[in-house]
Symmetry: C2
Subunit: 418 residues, 2 copies
Amino acid sequence: MSLLVMKFGGSSVGTPERMQRVARRILERQQEGHQIVVVVSAMGDTTDDLIDQSKQLNPNPPAREMDMLLTTGEQISIALLSMTIHQLGGQAVSYTGWQAGFRTEPVHGKARITDIQADRVIRSLDEGQIVIVAGFQGMSEDGEITTFGRGGSDTTAVALAAAVQADRCEIYTDVDGVYSTDPRVVKCARKLEEISYDEMLELAHLGAAVLHPRAVEYAKHNNVCLVVRSSFTYNEGTEVKEEAVMEQGIVVRGIAFDKNVARISLLGAQDIPGILAKVFGALANNGIDVDIIVQSGVADGKADFSFSVSNNDIAKALRVIEDLRSEVPFREATSEENLVKVSIVGAGMVSHPGVAAKMFETISQLGVSIKMVSTSEIKCSCVIEAGPLNEVVRALHTAYNLDTEEQAFVGGPQDRRE
Amino acid sequence: MSLLVMKFGGSSVGTPERMQRVARRILERQQEGHQIVVVVSAMGDTTDDLIDQSKQLNPNPPAREMDMLLTTGEQISIALLSMTIHQLGGQAVSYTGWQAGFRTEPVHGKARITDIQADRVIRSLDEGQIVIVAGFQGMSEDGEITTFGRGGSDTTAVALAAAVQADRCEIYTDVDGVYSTDPRVVKCARKLEEISYDEMLELAHLGAAVLHPRAVEYAKHNNVCLVVRSSFTYNEGTEVKEEAVMEQGIVVRGIAFDKNVARISLLGAQDIPGILAKVFGALANNGIDVDIIVQSGVADGKADFSFSVSNNDIAKALRVIEDLRSEVPFREATSEENLVKVSIVGAGMVSHPGVAAKMFETISQLGVSIKMVSTSEIKCSCVIEAGPLNEVVRALHTAYNLDTEEQAFVGGPQDRRE
């Protein structure tokens, strides 16, 4: 008998009909001979509704009380899902995060899991129960209710899969797998049968929001076999694993993009020792995430360099830099908003020369200029203006032989709200 | 410094404005120099909404999962109330039932409290926090979430008051105290300054649903000074205590009524030994609560007797009796539905002869016939037809000198939904 973790997002259980469909799906999996642990998120808009309610009373509520409030969303889901399974003749028991043994750091809003005491879950499995666990939540050592932050239900599922040594962790979502790129942009996007943890991490970080990056990291670290599949169809889905096979003639696994990019350039900065550490240290201390950094060379003791931040951070970032002027003298700081980053990802790139060159060529053939470039062993990213993004993604998709003849399946509503 | 428990029902926190009013009220009490523990119920219709949601998925859900579901209602309340207090500049911390140390029997839907480990609450009080505890819920020894059943938030408040040795337990509701009778029936009903636990128990059991009987029992047992007062006004409220002073010239404290009464009569029953034990044992085993029992005498070895049940139990009760016919032969079982029970309550009745006689006289002067009578040391109840109930209550209220010149205050909406 194998042990399966099944994770369902909020929109998969957003209506009574959907809740019933999920319950039937779970029972089918059980009848196939699996022991089942289910992780479920808050239903539909519950989390957002609770946030709205709280904002009316306190625009800036304490994180502790926010955790107290938001964890009720998943608690409602697990109770209703368990009832639905009972109604269909199954045996199920629901557990909150603390009941399921999730211990976390004593932090609110984005606690990390420190330990999972899964004996209660295992005992219920041994009794033949379907165990339904509330996603996204745990308890600190001092008995405080904590949450993992948005997307945390994926992490709950993967961490629990590792703790109970599950054979598979299936993440049910609104698309039937991980695609070579966003099927809403490229209709002939390719569903991937397999993808490596590292590739998935790049895709997740780069904006292909099918799986939360932290969940992928957790899966990689614990070698959990992860499957992304649709809660609306019975298609096979995409397996995320250590070593993923690449089809013949294909080097790039997928194309990701991030629409929320701005560039800041520091021109004529005095090239004093530690200048980069000073600038990026100050930005980090102010909570600004910097993505790509490009230094374009030094002449006459003056350096020019550029970096990318998200659009919403640009005003703050420029203020931080202006405040540094006395320490780090520079001629001018310029900025450009509303850019996008497009990236090709593939574990095989490192052993295939010319992959990046083809990307630059494809983009320039469209008359689009590349503003920044960043590369790693498994990806190459270009920052370009926003306008031609879709055109660029489609061209790259074709250039790297990713197009299929079929039209990609896009299921129900977006399931990435939690 | 004194220690105060303040309990607010669901309608007192049913809207953002009400939540804010409650928060201000709590902060005022704190500024008067009290340490404050707050117990709060689920907001407005939350509990009923959750029940409706569950019924759509499972008309007969497991009690365990129902507890899992319903306890989220109070958890939402405590988080939002805490946030509101923070917004107004106060320091507050919310605790679920299990966090506040409520340990219960391993029963779902109506667990009894076995123990309160209040050290966490006391620690927070010592830190100057306002402690906000979710009503109606606890945890069994094996870590299961349990509830006390409806009205359980009153019990939470009283039990917590006993556990932390509070000086007072204030129950805030939609009326400004306990009245001599329902002010909706008798406009000149009298607000009582004091009432004894025993009198309050009779009034609570008899349908004057201001306080849950279990909470009153708990208060009596632990000698908790209980105050019922309005969350809408600053009036003094009613103190519920061991010995309550009675005003000069008044023997009856209040008049209660129960609108949901039916009578069953067993006529010509063979007077075999243990016949009453057989009949009422069988009814109890079938979960039927019997209130008044009257045996009207034995002649020729045949007995007639009557008893009252609630209207909804009548069909079931008649079936149970019919099933007993072979064991307990009887001539005929008759029944009468839609009756009411009206009761006078007063600890002084026992030392004042003629109190009951005045009741019978007052009722019969209205041309109303009395179908059953039951008396105890502190009360006298009559079952009558439903039609003239209001008229009877008004006449009794006048007969026992309970009328005031003022019109009774009836506050916001009914606050007895939990």
